[in-house]
């Protein structure tokens, strides 16, 4: 038996990671423009301690992963957790045979096309879109450099999916010590109607603004700019006090913020070009600048393990600059949305 699904192509945003790349491939298969769906939302919503050690971490709350990625569209996803590698392959095989590509979690250590092959363990995500049982191969798509669209052995994918993802050396950072567990993700896309109209864009921007301006209730939920400020302020304080245990959490959450912000900047720029609205292009550049703050935050924290006090001071300063720029951008966004 074999299957090979058409319509699979690489997609990647340079500030995203394997989650957005995988989502882009799957959304593209379903006929959607990934930037339209993945770039619409801009916000900050993180519950302390929610971070999981996976490259494809995204804070979801009560929503599914894809509903969280694209909250303005009719997209959902379901994680499946098979009880064995055999069941894991049977389920993925059946879904692909039925005509739908899926995302699978996999440890790069076992994937021959990944630079981490036989070197670094990590919890990665990629697309499976075909197989050939006679040849013993499975077709996968991974847009993360060095991008790969081709076949590997079924047993190689199975080993990657069934990995315990252990910590073996110092570069097994952030996304290890979390068994892969043969998990796979089923995605449903329905009712996508193309790029947002002027009216729909105004609704989306208004909703984003409402979220960003949210009130911080002081709980473990960090919502909107007040929550973002508290999250970073607490992290800076802990680092300044010598507590490096916060590094992993802030690095991963900053990575999400970086991706979401970068995607939204490009989303606004695309809308500005499509609608002939120059203020959207200016706004897009400002959002981009916020993303570039997050690039700094991410590395500032990641390099702070050996000297958390210095990282804490740097993060405190960066947080102030980020928030000031973001508040100005939010004000501009409100004006631009109102004028649409």
């Amino acid at each position: 038996m074999k299957a090979s699904l058409p319509g699979i192509a690489h997609w990647r945003h340079d500030l995203g990671h394997c989650l957005h790349a995988t989502a882009g491939v799957l959304l593209g298969f379903h006929g959607a423009d990934p930037l339209d769906l993945l770039g619409a939302a801009w916000g900050f919503d993180y519950t302390a301690g929610d971070m999981r050690r996976e490259e494809y971490y995204f804070p979801c709350g009560q929503r599914s992963l894809f509903a969280s990625l694209a909250p303005f569209h009719d997209v959902t996803s379901t994680w499946h957790a098979p009880s064995s590698p055999e069941q894991g392959w049977d389920e993925v095989r059946a879904r692909v045979l039925a005509g739908t590509p899926v995302a699978v979690a996999a440890d790069n250590y076992f994937l021959p096309f990944r630079p981490a092959y036989q070197d670094v363990h990590t919890n990665h995500l990629l697309v499976v879109h075909g197989f050939d049982e006679e040849r013993g191969t499975v077709s996968v798509c991974d847009p993360v450099p060095p991008r790969f669209l081709g076949e590997i052995r079924i047993e190689e994918l199975t080993a990657a999916r069934d990995s315990a993802n252990p910590v073996r050396h110092s570069r097994d950072m952030f996304f290890t010590a979390n068994p892969i567990g043969n998990r796979w993700l089923d995605v449903t896309v329905s009712g996508h109607t193309g790029p947002a109209s002027r009216e729909r864009l105004r609704e989306i921007m208004t909703a984003n603004l409402e979220g960003l301006r949210g009130v911080d209730d002081g709980s473990s939920d960090h919502r909107g700019l007040p929550g973002q400020e508290r999250f970073l302020r607490e992290a800076a304080a802990r680092l300044s006090g010598g507590d490096a245990s916060v590094v992993d959490e802030v690095f991963v959450v900053a990575g999400v913020a970086l991706a979401v912000t970068g995607l939204h900047g490009d989303y606004l720029a695309a809308a500005g070009r499509r609608l002939g609205e120059r203020p959207l292009l200016t706004l897009a550049r400002e959002v981009d600048r916020i993303a570039h703050h997050w690039s700094a935050v991410r590395i500032m924290v990641a390099t702070g393990r050996d000297d958390p006090a210095t990282a804490g001071r740097a993060l405190a300063g960066r947080m102030t600059a980020l928030l000031a720029d973001q508040l100005a951008t939010v004000d501009r966004m409100a004006a631009v949305a109102a004028a649409l």
């Binding site: 500030l15 450099p145 690039s295 590395i299």
Partner: protein, 181 residues
Amino acid sequence: MMRPLSLAPHLNNTGLTGEDELDGGGFNIWGNTFPAGELPPAGGTAVVGEVPFLFPVAGADNVRCRGQRVDVPAGDWDWVHVLGAAERRTEDLVEVHYADGSVRGQWLRMSDFWPQTEPRFGEVLAFRCRHMHYPRHVQRTTSPAIWAQRVPLTVPSGVVALVLPDNPALHVFALTLQAVG
């Protein structure tokens, strides 16, 4: 007239390694490095476009930006040419300090060194390596980049120092001043 600057007092990161010392550096947080053998000789002058850059010597060979103050020799300087790369693209203000105590900010924008990633800020591609070094192997399917960027000095006279941003995602391998005229 071009005037390469020495960054020797500020070098704090090793981004270039040979194949016999793969774990001898760590440009990014994962310990990846550029293959020194594919880049100009250590300590030599590399010309990118028409700009000569003093290519770093072996060992610590670039500045991970953490607010270092780089002294500027007397002159009327029009541009600062920058050889660098970032861990995800980023931008920040460089402080331009003047003899009279005034300070002006100028943007330094740098694209990602990561393979298969386009420049975001219109930089010139200075070097595209064919391989990337990992601490325990050479990855022959990944091609990291070093970019040539420039920063304007809108008031050319009296510059005494440049203070790099406190942004460790931003790496600088070399700086060269270009005189007015």
